[in-house]
Amino acid sequence: MKKQDIQIYDVIVIGAGHAACEAGLIASRMGMNTVMFCTDIDSVAMMPCNPSIGGTGKGHLVKEIDALGGQMGINTDKTFIQSKMLNTSKGAAVHSSRAQADKHRYHEEMLTTINNQQGLELKVEEITDLILDRRDNISAENSATVNGVITANGNEYYSKAVIICTGTFLGGKIFIGDNVKVSGPADLTPSTELSKNLYSLGLPLRRFKTGTPARMLRDSLDYSKMKEQKGDEKIVPFSFMNEGKKYDIDQISCWLSYTNEETHKIILDNIEKSAMYSGNIVGVGPRYCPSIEDKVSRFRDRKRHQLFVEPEGLDTDWMYIQGMSSSLPENVQHDFYSTIPGLENATIVKPAYAIEYDCIDPTSLKPSLESKLINNLFCAGQFNGSSGYEEAASQGLIAGINAVRKIREENPLVLRRDQSYIGVLIDDLVTKGTNEPYRIMTSRAEYRLLLRQDNADRRLTGIGYEYGSVSEERYRKYIEKKEKVDREIERLKHKGTDRNTFYELLKRPEFSYDDLAEFDDETRPELTETEKTEVEVEIKYEGYIRKQIIEVEKLKKLEEKILSEDIDYNSIGGLRLEARQKLSKIRPITLGQASRISGVSPADINVLLIWLEKERRNKNTCS
């Protein structure tokens, strides 16, 4: 093949999914000349699985992405067709936003955002290899630096950093019963050459698997037999930029139905035909996203399983059958789906399938999401072993920010576990690794009371501003909100009824912020829903929040102790063998991260503490 012109960029992003979009947008917004590559234009911000954004933990991620200057929240607010706040019967810390997305409009909106973004290009070309520069062999550990990519057409593109966000496209293989084909999600072109070449560069790749349920024609379903699930009347947008904005849209409903014993019988009678059971699939699937055959065979005493019928958008007739992913053959799928009330005469436009793909062992990444093996190569999204649009977008944003900072020789943005769900997500991935596609859950966050949706901006916008990802406009808006909330908390301490201040009243479980309005005077400010929540929560749960802050402070001492990248752990006497091996592999950047590696004991941490102090004093006496 003839070599084409050589082109030079600052940042190259491989992929155009949720991770890639955030990475490309933020890199270009931070002033980098950036290009994104995809194998198909339809893959831009595509949702190959459920048509929704947010949910428990995931809603928190979207708010955090937004607080740091990312795009997911803004574009969801522009295109959603139903909005819901989950967990409202529980405390504010676990209130989670979820929106039904319009798949097509979300894709279109992101495409527009990318096209309008200065310094960002989108190219449809398959990347087959990385270009490495092995001359600058300064550090022994990292033998190479990436400085470009090669496409299937033989084109070479050079850059200072490359971000891999290949999602489920890399080495993608689709399974429907016995039927196996090489493919990306939604029948799009997979990326085949690249994984071979990444493997030969020494990157630790492995196979993961996930699945998606069938799609059905809207008019073929009988809605009278299902239960309607409406959106919330009060809509709280994802983006802090849209706070206080009124949303006047006709929300689309979802529908609830249940499987029954007949469904289960058909599934169990045909279980050996499932690709998951026949042994065709070698990849590891996620426990939280089991196929219907998995649910039925593992929980045999359950008489029914619920499923949600969700519209995929306004301009499409496709309905998504949530809760019913499967890798059984098409005819069996047809048989069991038609036993379900409302689905008796359903037309399946696309059967359920399982997909297997290549991804990297994330413990081979630094907390900045840069590869430990190849300098300036960043990785994000499903390629890192995560699952979910929101998890992908979070990593894409951080990888994008850190690619820019690496190019500028600035320190990377590493968020702590007590600061964000994004910090929890990335720390879990790079420190502990994962044996299944990783999904965020509020149970994974130790400091759940601090990590709320309502205060995501308070936690992160200042940091984003300092690290260059947050615009002046967003930062100003945030400062205004912050001051408004602080002022109001202060005011409530001084106003009140004859007996109590409002502050005291709010501490009682039976009073909400809204309840105070009728006793209040003209000094009461206009607050948005999020602001009200923040005021209320900060006062109501002050005691618990303070308790968590104490825990954080204890942890912080260890987080502030930096471990440099070139420590020879084998030379430190007193470390146990297992600890030496694990520390050498993970190369934690702080003592806090080291303490979270399984196999590193508190005694090993103490040994490291003493060793660090010794090194510090040695250095002082030398200089």
Partner: protein
Amino acid sequence: MLYNIGVTTDIIVYEEIIMAETITAISTALGEGGIGIVRVSGPSSKDVMRILMNNRIENIEARHAYLGKVYNSDNSVIDEAIFIFYASPASYTGEDMLEIQAHGSNISLKEILNRVLDCGVKDIRMADPGEFTKIAFMNGKMDLSQAEAVIDIIKAKTDLSLEIAEGQREGRLGAAIKEIRDNLLNVLAEMAVNIDYPDEDIEQYEYDGLINKLRWVLSDVDQLLDTASIGRIAREGIKIAIVGKPNVGKSSLMNALLGEGRVIVTDIPGTTRDTVEETASLGGIPIVLVDTAGLRETDDKVEKIGIQRTEHAIAAADMIMLVIDGSKEIEDEDDEILNYIGNINGDSIIVVINKSDLGNKVDENKVIEKMPGATVVTTSLVGKDVIESARKVSEVIGNKIDTGYIKTGNNNIVSNERHIKMLKNADMNINESIEMLQNGDPIEVAELSARYAYDNLGQIIGEDVGEDVINAVFSKFCLGK
């Protein structure tokens, strides 16, 4: 390249939180007579002294020896002691410090330690192994050349406590803790699944149900805590059966322990032909040593009675000391005894391999294999070796009592103060969780306290929360899209 970890967030902080913790431990070796010291280091040291002395000193002067009584919370007196307060930075650790020098008895030292831990000052906890030394080093109280030595101290002390934790995991306390933890985990999973999967078709939790389940867990913790009283050991003593075939040195061992001075004969309640009992005191803890006849299978009627008595003595014992002649290969008769006591938990067995002066033909590892969790000690009970051997054995007994979970009669006793403290923390956190649910506080707040309790219990057996809750959620509930 340096990583900036100190990125700051704007979380509202209501007042300055003083972070420094105060730590405490018994800092003299166990079972040594004379004087014992309880050490306290950290900002609350002075307050601890004030509280323990019942506010009897107006202005506490640093480096001044105060003689006074150590008061319990109910104003009863634990002991008389010398209190010395050291002001930062002129102390061993460089922090404010308190030394309480009391009588060397284990019981009174443990009671003082418990009093310090429970005296109500903020952020006080048991010191980690080697922590006083570590703080001293970090505060520049030791020079660089001592760094390796500091690491060695931490390592040695930690290895010991790790060994103990390993033993716990297999032992009776481990089993008890594990059961409580499993029950608590079920409640946690129920709470977690409802938080993370609000849409799922799962039976919605009800606060009353959760409260009831937590109460069950709490009552199990309380039951363990009830046995944690040091005073109980003092009252009932600990019964140790010495078993082994004839002529392995059982009597010599008993005499050595009684005669060596650390164990003092206080009473001779009676001897029988087949078992000899001696009551003694080890570091203040009453010990009943029972010398037994063999266990060899026989048709001889008289011998059979002897064997029965031995079996009774073993059943009634809190601890078993098996003596083996180390100069000979293990014989069938040794094996019979090993097999007989093999089903008793290893954490209450000490194997004494005797006659090391005549060579050693017994493989320690093989013995351990048969009785996991048992402690092995090698002795020689002739000539001048007697004193050293007796010292070694009494130290092992002392360690077992100090760190173990001892069965006295039908009761189990938690005798280690770190474990007691962890149980108390678990108790407090479960109570808090119940209280929150009763108040109608949000589920995720109550879940956190229950999770802390789960962590407290895990620390006793050296396990952390990790992915336990998430794993339990997925194994118990059917979830997912």
